[in-house]
Amino acid sequence: MIRSATGPLALRGGGTRGPRVDGEILDLSGLSGISLYEPGALTVVAGAGTPLSEIEQTLAAQGQRLPFEPPDIQALLGRQGASTIGGVAAANASGPRRVQARAARDSLIGLKCVDGRGVAIKSGGRVMKNVTGLDLVKLMSGAHGTLGVLTEVAFKLLPQPETSAGLCLHGLTNTQAVSAMSAALGSPYEISGAAHLPAEKQTYVRIEGFARSVAYRLDRLKSLLAMHAAEITVADQPVERWKAIRDVAPLAGQGGDLWRLSVQPSTAPTLLAGMPDDAKVLLDWGGGLIWALIPEGCNLRARLGPISGHATLMRSASSLPVFSPEPAPIAALSAALRAKFDPKAIFNRGIMG
């Protein structure tokens, strides 16, 4: 299909997270199934169209999981479908645990794909340490299919922790919240999530691990954060709470343009102050990730000016570019790479560069 294609193709996994593009739909859900799962080697290999839910259930049965907590943002984007593991890789989709376990691309250890000429390529493999040749895995992860169609992906895994627990700090301003989250993330207590809900003035910090250790660390963390907040409680229903933060549930089902900013955490309060008054926001990654619902048509990039980070327009009726414009030399390299991997310019055109 790729070899004979002349017009644009819209690559589709579950259709749950990527930007929408024009073109004939290339449905990848047929490339489904786990081809190798070795719990003792902490690795799973699966077809790109394998539903994320199938992967997560299979891993959970062995007490393991994907480290980076991929979010389910269907409700947020107003979509319906079954997220696929290939879509997670192509979007480099990482959730709250990114502060500890890093991004999807960091757990992605190998892939197979088909380039724009219909040539099958592999990079990486199924071992977690591999520096053999150029790392095309990283290049493809987060490329949203613009360099090739992912057909198979291999991920490194982690054991499920015995317990998950956390604290809630009440009544903090954005500035106070970011500084409290930084203190937590700079502590040795292995924080696996740090998020702030400005509307509720609630700041959540999560710890996972062996029960005894979690109890001890929760206690220590509470003492450490006492100087940052007058009221600190042990968070109730931590699993549900963090699922809601992961999926950005507080911003779901509402109108407006949806922005996602990845920034230097300490700059977040200033950026939030620069947003329109009626902006609805959620801070994750200790302030390093800002989700913002802004009235339609407001060009947030222009409004905020240069930032230490980048801003992606996740959902909008406007014609603003989805990804932050890049400096000329970087844009030139990216365009040249696309021309090499997709010479007919058929994959997911118009969303990147």
Binding site: P39, V127, L134, D135, G209, S262, M352
Partner: protein
């Protein structure tokens, strides 16, 4: 090992090239005298040597750009160099090249513990990055054995690992941004003190590109809070297979040690003779380190004790003090020195799925008999990163060639069981011609097309990474 023919045109233009470089560089940056050039004739893979045409040691990114611009315009190959500790010949010169060394770029530009990053120039050593943030309770996680000497530039080029990758990942997982210069002198910044790329992840392909794509002069690195505590345990077994099976059980059981190191009998004997660390006399031993709160360490060690107990260990020793921990690590950390005392050796670093450990160790033992060369195994078992050390005698005719053939056979086996040629040392010149064992022509073509984009004239770090036969058409151009 072949190197491409020296380009006479370049050698004949040497005076003009040196003049052009001298004209744009500050005093002392350009080195041209034969005695000083000799110091740069090899890196950690000292079996191969070749003095370069000239060496440059720039003091700023602007000077790096100036050197690259001159070399680009005159068609001169450039070999980037960090501290020259590559075990794969990643910084091996050609006679017609200019070495671009970053050893004078050592500044710390910013330390930011609130946002958990450090911004440094890349000539800085790995260990001194941790040194710069230690007093604030932080550290930089990747810890290659050469960390006292190796430069961040080389760590980025080779995507270096270390003993603690099982928990903390390798360089690419701890790199936030780079400032770099393309072969044509273009300066640019990828990433920065924030997460992920807003467009294509170019930094992802720069890391591990072995100086094929650009020269990295600055880096934003993730720093992490130091753990509350750590404790190693030493466990001896009466066979490699049993030790390998124990590793699999520990990982499967949900315990996540920061390091699982494996030594076989030849390695144990050599290390014990060299370092006298008090290792038990056994066929295989594991050093497992766990980290965290006291409660967590106790919990993890209890689980490990239980799991190891099912494999009838012949020795079990948990550290009881800092000094004890240091002793447990002493033998392992001096392994390479110990092997060096026994003669010449070649160190491989193929990676295999952990489940294949027993099979691969058995096959290496059989091949050792077939090739008539001794081999010791000391490696990172948790992530399957093998380090077979093949002993040979460089003065004995044919021994090096036999050793290389043995090495190639081991690496081919690693690929056959689902692994790869190199887990942390890089391809360099050493494993260049084995690349086609792991990758088919289409895979290699895809990688080379990335180089076409960053370095269209193929002048950066010539004759590395890609088999000479595969890159011939491009290099000639």
């Amino acid at each position: 090992m072949d190197m491409p023919l020296v380009n006479r045109r370049i050698l004949n233009s040497r005076p003009a090239i040196l003049d052009a470089l001298a004209a744009v560089l500050s005093e002392g940056v350009l080195i041209t005298n034969t005695v000083e050039l000799k110091a740069y004739e090899c890196d950690g893979l000292s079996a191969y040597r070749c003095p370069p045409m000239a060496v440059t040691l720039p003091r700023t990114t602007a000077e790096v750009a100036a050197i690259l611009k001159v070399c680009h315009s005159m068609g001169v190959p450039v070999v980037p160099r960090g501290a020259g500790t590559s075990l794969a010949g990643g910084a091996l010169p050609t006679a017609d090249c200019v070495i671009l060394g970053v050893s004078r770029l050592t500044r710390v530009i910013e330390i930011n513990t609130a946002d958990r990053f450090i911004h440094v120039e890349t000539g800085r050593t790995n260990l001194s990055v941790t040194g710069a943030v230690e007093s604030e309770g932080f550290f930089y996680a990747p810890d290659p054995s050469s960390q006292i000497a190796c430069a961040i530039a080389g760590n980025i080029a080779m995507n270096s690992g270390g003993a603690h990758c099982l928990k903390y990942g390798v360089t690419t997982n701890n790199l936030l941004g780079v400032r770099m210069v393309l072969m044509d002198g273009t300066e640019l910044t990828l990433g920065g003190p924030f997460n992920d790329s807003g467009g294509l992840d170019l930094m992802g392909v720069i890391c591990g590109s072995e100086g094929q794509l650009a020269v990295v002069t600055e880096a934003w690195l993730r720093i992490l809070p130091k753990p509350e505590g750590a404790r190693p345990v030493l466990i001896g077994f009466d066979s490699n297979e049993v030790a390998g099976a124990c590793v699999g059980d520990i990982i499967k059981a949900g315990v996540l040690p920061v390091a699982i190191e494996f030594m076989d009998r030849p390695a144990i004997v050599a290390c014990e003779a060299f370092a006298k660390a008090g290792y038990p006399d056994c066929a295989a031993l594991l050093i497992i380190e766990v980290e965290g709160s006291l409660a967590e360490i106790d919990d993890q060690l209890a689980r490990i004790r239980d799991l190891a107990g099912r494999h009838a260990p012949v020795a079990y020793r948990e550290s009881t003090s800092e000094a004890d921990s240091a002793r447990i690590w002493l033998g392992r950390k001096s392994a390479f020195g110990a092997m060096g005392q026994m003669g010449d050796y070649m160190c491989l670093d193929g990676t295999i799925p952990v489940s294949s450990l027993p099979l691969v160790l058995r096959r290496i033992g059989e091949m050792s008999d077939e090739f008539g060369l001794r081999v010791a195994n000391v490696f990172h078992a948790g992530d399957g990163n093998m380090h077979p050390l093949i002993l040979f005698d460089a003065n004995k005719p044919g021994d090096l060639e036999r050793c290389e053939a043995f090495g190639a056979a081991i690496l081919t086996l690693c690929v056959e069981v689902g692994g790869c040629l190199t887990g942390e040392h890089g391809v360099g010149v050493e494993k260049r011609d084995l690349m086609s064992v792991q990758y088919n022509p289409a895979d290699l073509e895809a990688q080379m097309s990335v180089k076409d984009v960053f370095d269209p004239s193929w002048l950066l770090n010539p004759a590395k990474v890609f088999p000479l036969s595969a890159s011939a058409g491009r290099r000639a151009g």
